[in-house]
Assembly symmetry: C2
Homo-oligomer: 361 residues x 2
């Protein structure tokens, strides 16, 4: 009975309602990378632990996940993890090097490298994140805050796996894609199974929604996306969809191929700040929810300048159902905390006001 009530509370949360395009009292808001370096609580933990230690110790991952939920009135939590550990589970040697970001010491460059990649269940390779989700759900019990699980999308995983770390041009990954289509397809098949299974396992562990991050997909032409990437994102989303929880499909730089992103799947499409939210939604049609789309740099601005930009976004989709407010990409390390607090509260207050106007008219 208690469980049923709790489940009901969760299902009635603003965030999950918006995922289903139902009316909400106010626009829900959460922020990509909301648990992270801009928070002093997080930095304090990072002095004691490496990123991988935080990710792989369920109690710590749970603690980090809860930090922003204690500090701000956010409408959803997202499990503290990273998009790269699934690659470690496949046999790639991953590390986070201070000042350099992620490094993979044995990147994928050939058919043999792809053959060596292991496809094992997330229960085995990513048990720590699944356990962190169970812990966090327990901690959040009764608070009515849904928890989001996530994975990198196949292309973004492939980018790191092939480049061996971050890369601005992505020459290696695109060259593999263009020159060795058979190797590429085998690589992407494996990655889509791993990503899909990981997402599904997170929902089974208690996540109420899933986000697939295709952070670097905007570097592709629609031509290449459609032929070499879309089928694999589609496959990962298909597997994850067996969970029945809503799926957010996120990318950046996708203004020129939003319809293809949508075609690959997702109940909610992530939109970055490089296109007006209303214009993007018009291209997508009313059958999906949208998430976005404030420029993360706006959080560095004075409050009035930040407020103006948040207002503009909310005004532009006024009266529509299914908007989840977010940044267009992850929150940056030096972001002033006070601006985060004010933004979260402002989005609730202002959207509530807009909704009331709407009813009056």
């Amino acid at each position: 009975m208690v469980t049923t009530l709790k489940t009901q509370t969760l299902m009635d949360s603003r965030f999950l309602k918006a995922c289903r395009r139902e009316a909400t009292d106010a626009t829900p808001i959460w922020l990509m990378r909301q648990a992270g370096r801009y928070m002093p609580e997080y930095r304090a933990l990072r002095e004691k632990y490496t990123i991988l230690e935080l990710i792989k110790t369920p109690a710590l991952a749970c603690e980090v996940t809860l930090q922003p939920l204690h500090a701000f009135n956010l409408d959803a939590g997202i499990i503290f993890a990273d998009i790269l550990p699934p690659l470690q589970g496949m046999g790639l040697e991953l590390d986070f090097v201070r000042g350099e970001g992620p490094v993979i010491y044995n990147p994928v460059r050939s058919a043999e490298d792809v053959d060596r990649l292991q496809v094992r269940p997330a229960e085995e390779t990513l048990a720590f994140t699944l356990e962190a989700i169970r812990l966090t759900r327990h901690e959040l019990a009764g608070r009515g805050i849904p928890l989001i699980g996530f994975s990198g999308a196949p292309f973004t995983l492939a980018s790191y796996a092939v480049e061996g770390g971050g890369s601005s041009r992505r020459v290696k990954v695109k060259s593999l894609m263009m020159n060795q289509p058979l190797v590429w397809h085998r690589l992407m098949s494996k990655l889509s199974e791993v990503a899909g299974d990981y997402l599904l396992a997170q929902a089974q562990a208690g996540a109420q929604a899933l986000q697939i991050f295709d952070s670097w997909v905007g570097e592709l032409s629609p031509y290449d996306y459609e032929r070499f990437v879309m089928p694999y994102s589609q496959r990962a989303i298909e597997i994850a969809s067996q969970s029945g929880v809503p799926i957010i499909h996120f990318g950046t730089g996708t203004s020129g191929m939003l319809k293809l992103i949508q075609q690959a799947g997702g109940d909610v499409i992530g939109v970055d700040w490089r296109i007006g939210l209303a214009q993007a939604w018009e291209m997508l049609g009313d059958a999906v929810s949208v998430q976005g789309n404030l420029d993360p740099i706006a959080l560095f601005a004075d409050w009035e300048a930040l407020k103006t930009r948040a207002t503009n976004i909310l005004d532009s989709v006024k009266g529509k159902r299914g908007h989840i407010f977010n940044l267009g990409h992850g929150i940056l390390p030096e972001t002033p905390v006070e601006n985060v607090r004010r933004l979260v509260d402002f989005v609730h207050e202002y959207s509530q006001m807009l909704n009331q106007e709407d009813v009056t008219v």
Copy 2:
């Protein structure tokens, strides 16, 4: 009489015809940064001279400009220069540091910094590039190859001026824009005068077309572009337009704001590879020419893979007038020269064939 004939030959060149949306026998092609590090001839010169020496010695700048025109059947030259020297003319201390790219030692951060920026005529501050244009025109006499002059657009110039060099997030320049609108407007006013005057002077020195590079504008939201950048690009283009030569307005990451880019001006709109060329042209309408839009990384692919992508672009705009084939951004240093040669010839041959089919049908 000879002059008239030569002028006529130039005006009848594929490139200038395409700028005017007139029919051409084949699609014209040139490549951004076609004079540059991927060419052994260029690297040989760079062993003896710094980038700034090459730019500031008219005979050398002319030589570099001609290198790709000797090597490939390109339909236009672009004067060898850089988008940053105009900043030097304004009083900023610019250098190109090996491995790091451009550095500005006294970046613009305050109202006082903006006040100090000098707006002087290009004839005084950029005489070397104007002279290089005169020399190159002389060398090209009778070859019927138009020469393009160019400048950074106000926002891209501001990005470097404020950040003090390259930057992936552009926190400083966006923060100045958002927080200090009055300082920003004074800065952008000065930059638009300088860029506009520089472009105009290049046309007067003999350039048959002008390109305004807003390489980083795709980092802005349409909201910010429209209010804080567009009026200044518009102003620079307005000044340059007094020359009567066609103007190419180029940016990357602009799929979500192509209409605004067009509104700022230009006879030809540059389109990067992140949107289908036909889709972009449909958004822009038939009143403008388009330039683009091959992914520069496609030049690293095997010939068959490269050819497929070039074919796809040409097929997608078949039968339309006013397409100038180009990359979506500058050619990269490690690009294989042989692929450049084959691409240039293929674009001519294949488009000629498409045109003939068109006539037959």
